[in-house]
């Protein structure tokens, strides 16, 4: 009786349900993805604008831009490692202590034992990798939650720092290491006049122009390749607008830096790391595995992904990046101290979440995390320029973190209810 009507009924029902599918959810999903992905950059631009106004332009003065980059470099480096861990659905609370212990190891090697600095840095990076491997083993292969392992690591490696340092600061560092953390590229090609802007370093400007040209060519080639595969791409005006805006931002920063003291070495290092890790997360098989694991662990296991090995290696990676941050931090202070890196893990985690990582994993971008770190850096810097007390800075940072994650949760819930 009913079997004769039910297929047509169902077909009708499904037809009615499918009809809006290409239109409405497609469009709304495009919009919500855009808001979720680009919201962070818009927020960053607004925050920069706000503090530029509040500080009468002091925020964007050449020396201040340089300061923001140098002062936040180690947090930004940590946030790159942290975003990978958070995408995979884990967390690392130990990075502050690892920064301290690797800085201490570098200091003891160079200052107490007179090891040449390149060898000392290499040993420090290996030590960072071993620390990461230690934690990765317990998390990936032994199956203890990362929260616990790295909480223990936070204590263990702080204890190790105090032991290595004998409870006192060790310094000073060799000049080469201090230059890496604190110094600037030489003016190899001399200065050039920029009219009303005054003199600027030609070498830095050339680097900036090369970077912009490289970016534009890479974007163009990627667009051409996608067109070759008949994929949809941005229309020429939108494409040009994006490239021009990105180029303008890069050139503005480079010109300001060139007017001050050339490019900070840490900026060069940071740019290389961001570029490299963006490539790994977007294009490498290894990077894709991280997203697959964080997105649906069970599906990843049933797809034959070596989940344990991937988790192990992202913690090794975090250890190495912590060691880099440890060297830079110690080099900047010109000594390794027992309290180095205190609460860095919280800043790095906050940067990742402000930068659009999802609490349950599977989502996040390296550039997003770095932008998240810069947002906090600009808030710090801007508020100290206008003389805000530190408790107010903390207050604002806390609210920004909460708002960023609330926004993420809200857009997801809205998307979920829209698809119902």
């Amino acid at each position: 009786m009913s079997s004769s009507t039910s297929p047509s009924d169902a077909a009708l029902a499904s037809g009615a349900k499918d009809a809006p599918a290409p239109g409405t959810p497609g469009r709304s999903s495009g919009l919500s993805i855009n808001v979720r992905q680009s919201g962070i950059y818009i927020a960053f631009a607004l925050i920069v604008l706000l503090f530029t106004i509040l500080t009468d332009g002091a925020l964007l003065q050449p020396q201040n831009i340089s300061n923001i980059i140098v002062q936040n470099s180690y947090i930004l480096i940590l946030s790159i490692g942290m975003i990978l861990i958070i995408i995979a659905g884990h967390i690392d609370l130990s990075v502050g202590s690892v920064v301290a212990v690797t800085g201490a190891i570098a200091a003891v090697l160079m200052v107490n034992y007179g090891v040449p600095w390149p060898l000392a840095l290499l040993i420090t990076l290996i030590a960072g990798a071993l620390i990461g491997a230690w934690q990765g083993y317990w998390i990936a292969y032994f199956g203890i939650p990362a929260f616990i392992v790295t909480l223990a690591g936070m204590l263990l490696f702080r204890a190790l720092t105090l032991t290595v340092l004998g409870n006192q600061g060790i310094g000073p560092f060799p000049d080469a290491v201090r230059t890496l953390s604190n110094g600037f590229t030489d003016g190899y090609l001399g200065n050039i006049g920029l009219g009303p802007l005054g003199g600027a370093d030609l070498f830095s400007l050339l680097i900036g122009i090369v970077a912009v040209a490289g970016m534009a060519i890479a974007q163009w080639r990627s667009r051409a390749a996608r067109l070759g595969y008949r994929q949809s791409v941005d229309s020429i005006p939108v494409f040009l607008l994006k490239v021009v805006v990105a180029a303008a931002v890069i050139l503005f920063v480079v010109v300001q830096l060139a007017r001050f003291k050339n490019l900070p070495w840490v900026l060069v290092l940071l740019a290389a790391l961001v570029l490299g890790y963006s490539l790994v997360t977007n294009r490498a098989v290894f990077g894709r595995r991280i997203y697959a694991i964080g997105g649906n662990l069970q599906a990843a296991l049933l797809s034959g992904i070596k989940v344990k090995s991937v988790i192990f290696w992202i913690f090794v990676n975090m250890g190495v990046l912590s060691a880099i941050a440890g060297i830079i931090f110690a080099g900047r202070l010109n000594q390794a101290g027992p309290t180095a890196g205190n609460s860095f893990e919280l800043d790095a985690i906050a940067a990742a979440f402000i930068g659009g990582a999802a609490v349950q994993g599977g989502v996040g971008k390296v550039v997003g995390a770095v932008t998240g770190g810069l947002i906090m850096g600009v808030i710090n810097n801007g508020m100290s320029l206008i003389g805000s007390p530190s408790e107010r800075v903390m207050l604002v940072k806390g609210i920004v973190l909460l708002a960023a994650v609330a926004f993420d949760v809200w857009t997801k819930r809205r998307a979920a209810s829209a698809s119902r």
């Binding site: 009913s2 297929p7 169902a10 499904s14 349900k17 599918a21 490498a284 595995r289 649906n296 990843a300």
Partner: protein, 509 residues
């Protein structure tokens, strides 16, 4: 004229893409035991969730009246206040708490905000006495067996002054003795005036205990049988459960069956949670190229467990047996090894185990064979797009582009993505677990067409399905699994639903 305690009229419940219930009617007389029978997916559990307020008033159409008064339950607490208590198949007990704590969970015996432990334990003891469970109320739940846990659930229901007790597959996990005890208890409760609704696959049990039976099929009420007439037989119930006409719901298919692709010999799997319980025992099976083989079995027969244990030992412990691929012995101890040996398994629960719902179509399609798209560890994402777009075209995946997030697709389109993912691994043997679960009729037809095409290209296919008509319409040969054993093998020409159902229930008590 009759004294009905419960009347459900014209219940219709729709999920995205499927009508789970359509104009269902159910009348339960006061003080009877009323059984609800139907195949998996017929809508039994959905109906009970509507009744108990798990699906709140307003999310379905139709009317419910209990004791003559209309019901508008907004959640399960509302229905419990009226004395309707549901006990789910998966028991809802907190394993680390005591029996007494579980009985009064959410209904704590407190005075002035403090729990009165003496009263809690004394009343728990009285309830345990009523259900015939001789255990100390302070015993931890995890220390008693499943049968006793079931009794604790009933004691919990009694503590809520239950008037209509709903049991979903109460004996599925019980042994004979515990089942018998439970059925006796239900008879006792009936004599005390408590009405029972019981969902069960075990027809002999239904025959033994029920006063009337309502049969559901495909979300429709088929009929209500009164046991007092004495004319009801198991065959009659089976006929009601399965008896629908097979129309053009299946694309025509001429199989070209080739050589043996996969042979499973003497395959035995033990449960990872219940020590010493064999979930699959001594299974022998052969899959041939170009052949679509069905695997029939009731819930808990071990179908998924068998499939997953073959697929890289993703289920079970102490797995023994041999696998042969095209006559050669192979090992598939990990998922990677299984995939390398050309075995694919598309899960029955695509949302939990099959897809990364926050990623787009192309990244899901490539997930199990990403290395095919990569050189020296770098993915060619244009190639990935092209491959996924080809599948989108050939499988008619309805989405704006392969960059659409899979979480927003309909069930049928999600299933196509899962199939594409496994086809892309170049598997020769595809195990498809409930490939059309939760999919509407039109999309089912498309999935069947894809399965036929795969068989025509020389793949060996094993389809696990709870829907017998689907197996009959699709498969060239069907194995029946009951309690972990192969109890029958039927060729397409000889297959009838009644025959397979008999094999499927063989060895069950």
């Amino acid at each position: 004229m009759t004294d009905d305690i419960l009347r459900m009229r014209g219940i219709t419940k729709t999920f995205p893409g499927v009508k789970a219930l359509q104009d269902v009617n159910l009348s339960v007389r006061r003080g009877e035991i009323h059984a609800i029978c139907g195949e998996n997916g017929a809508g039994k559990s959905t109906l009970m969730k509507v009744l108990s307020g798990v699906y709140p008033h307003g999310s379905y159409e139709g009317e419910i009246s209990f004791d003559g008064e209309p019901c508008h339950f907004s959640d399960i607490r509302d229905s419990e206040h009226r004395g309707i208590v549901i006990i789910h198949q998966e028991l809802a007990l907190a394993p680390q708490l005591s029996i007494a704590e579980n009985i009064f969970l959410g209904n704590e015996q407190a005075s002035r905000g403090l729990i009165d432990w003496n009263r809690t334990n004394a009343e728990a003891a009285a309830l345990l006495d009523r259900v015939g469970l001789r255990e100390n109320p302070v015993t931890t739940i995890s220390d008693i067996g499943v049968g006793k846990q079931q009794l604790v659930e009933i004691a919990k229901a009694l503590s809520k002054k239950v008037r209509l007790l709903i049991l979903d597959e109460p004996t599925a996990a019980l042994n004979d003795e515990d089942s018998e005890h439970l059925l006796d208890l239900l008879r006792g409760l009936r004599d005390e005036g408590i009405t029972c609704v019981i969902i069960s696959h075990k027809l002999n049990e239904v025959m033994a205990i029920a006063d009337s039976i309502t049969i559901l099929r495909d979300g429709h009420t088929i009929q209500t049988l009164d046991m007092a007439t004495g004319e009801v037989t198991e065959d009659r119930i089976i006929a009601g459960m399965v008896g629908r006409a097979l129309e053009n719901r299946f694309p025509p298919h001429e199989p070209q069956i080739g050589e043996e692709a996969l042979r499973i010999e003497d395959w035995t799997v033990y449960s990872p949670t219940q020590r010493g319980r064999a979930v699959v025992s001594g299974v022998n099976m052969t899959l041939r190229k170009g052949e679509i083989v069905g695997l029939a079995g009731l819930m808990g027969a071990g179908r998924t467990e068998l499939a997953m244990s073959v697929f890289g030992r993703t289920y079970g412990t102490n797995i023994s047996g041999r696998l042969f691929k095209e006559g050669q012995p192979i090992e598939a101890r990990t998922v990677r090894e299984a995939i390398r040996n050309g075995i694919a398994y598309a899960t029955e629960d695509r949302k939990r185990y099959g897809l990364n719902l926050i990623e787009d179509i192309k990244r899901n399609v490539s997930a199990a064979a990403l290395s095919k798209l990569a050189r020296r560890g770098w993915v060619n994402d244009n190639e990935e797009y092209r491959v996924a777009d080809e599948y989108r075209g050939s499988m008619n995946i309805k989405a704006p582009s392969v960059s659409s997030v899979t979480g927003k697709l309909s069930g049928g389109n999600q299933q196509k993505v899962v199939l594409a993912k496994w086809i892309f691994t170049d598997a020769d043997v595809l195990i498809l677990d409930e490939p059309t679960r939760g999919i509407d009729v039109g999309a089912k037809y498309e999935i069947y067409t894809i399965i036929n095409r795969l068989a025509d290209s020389g793949k060996a296919i094993l389809v696990i399905s709870s829907e017998l008509p689907e197996l009959l319409g699709l498969c060239d040969r069907i194995y029946a699994l009951s309690a972990g054993r192969i109890t029958g093998e039927v060729q397409r020409g000889d297959a009838t639903q009644e025959r397979i159902m008999q094999y499927m229930t063989k060895g069950l008590d």
